[in-house]
Symmetry: C2
Subunit: 202 residues, 2 copies
DNA sequence: CATGGATGTTAGTCATCATTAACGTAGTCG
DNA sequence: CGACTACGTTAATGATGACTAACATCCATG
């Protein structure tokens, strides 16, 4: 994700994708030290500009965070919808959902961390929308699970879904324990088993 | 946890356990808004005193956080050691470890949240010790799992352990989805299944 | 009763920080 | 060329916040 569309325009440094570059750096910093633990200066410094330059790209620190969370929530939700519409049977859909979440967790650990820690710092107008997207994402999971196990009460499916997110999103914490090559199938296996256990009886 | 040992000394309010009261309130606030998102004033306010009164009990905000994390890490570790020494067979030990973690996650959600988010804000001398306790706690789990599945590589067991913590610690997020009566066995079942799946070959 | 320690209170002090102002520079396009 | 736009820069400015000082109270104990 260093130089994607650029790489041709400038000899000294990157240009254009400053916005994206800032969002990425900010995500890393927020994940490491928390929203309030990071200053505008820090973020600027991380992309080679200094401080108030950020205001050329974002209306403020809050707005930056809001855009970050809005972006990840939308992408997760979109992916889930895509899965739901394209999958032929629910079992396959569940596998695909697992892969979506695992991919995000492994490839964007910082974003995932920020996503489930910093919602409280997003100002009210946009917080509502992010919450909505998150809710819709969960509901995609619950819908698939309900098709697989119609007898299981929805509340239980929702709780199980949250637990599985916790399991999958643990990746940022256990960073480096295992190479991605092994981590990915391990998470998939564990999550699947956890779900099966959750919906079977009792 | 409102009035434990007190209740006899004062008609107006609590006395003595101010320290504990402060730690508890701070945990709740840190969990909700993050270490830097909470002011000394906020913490004081939450226990009915105002601001600098805290310095009568703690040498500073950092020290307060450090003590909080040190306390929970020790308690977790101690419980795990107790389990390991008292259990007769590893299967039973694993069940007991699961119950320990589930109990903490359900009864002290704030502490658990802070525990795996705010370590980075603890000053260096004590951070090392907390990390050490956390590592020892994980190793208790790994040891038990290794007894159950000697063929499974330790790295995989460690990764699986972290994943299970993620699953169990998701409780604070899905707060209220399900009553504790149902949540507790659900988490136990899911975690057990996830572990079994993790250690069975591939 | 006087003294001292534990616990609070309010009014600074000094940093840090988000945000704004005022002011360049480069390249684009008319 | 000229001027507009996109992006940066370095100084304010104004809040907020951690921590300290100076000053009560309460209560136990000699």
């Amino acid at each position: 994700m260093r130089d994607v569309t650029t790489a041709a325009t400038t000899p000294t440094r990157n240009r254009r994708n400053r916005r994206a570059e800032i969002l990425e750096a900010a995500a890393r910093l927020f994940a490491a030290r928390g929203f309030h633990g990071v200053s505008i200066e820090d973020i600027g410094g991380a992309v080679g500009v200094s401080g108030p330059a950020l205001y050329r790209h974002f209306s403020g620190k809050d707005a930056l965070l809001a855009e970050m969370l809005l972006d990840i929530s939308s992408r997760l939700r979109e992916s889930a919808v895509a899965v739901a519409t394209s999958a032929t049977d629910p079992r396959q859909a569940l596998d695909a959902l697992l892969n979506v979440q695992i991919t995000f967790a492994i490839e964007q650990p910082a974003l995932i961390s920020v996503h489930d820690r910093e919602l409280g710092n997003v100002p009210e107008p946009q917080r509502r929308q992010i919450r909505r997207l998150q809710r819709l994402y969960v509901e995609e999971w619950v819908t698939v699970l309900a098709e697989l196990h119609p007898a299981c009460p929805a509340a239980r499916l929702r709780a199980a879904t949250h637990a599985v997110f916790g399991l999958l999103n643990s990746t940022p914490h256990s960073a480096g324990e295992l190479p991605e090559r092994d981590m990915r199938p391990l998470l998939h296996t564990m999550a699947k088993a956890a779900i099966d256990a959750a919906v079977s009886v009792r």
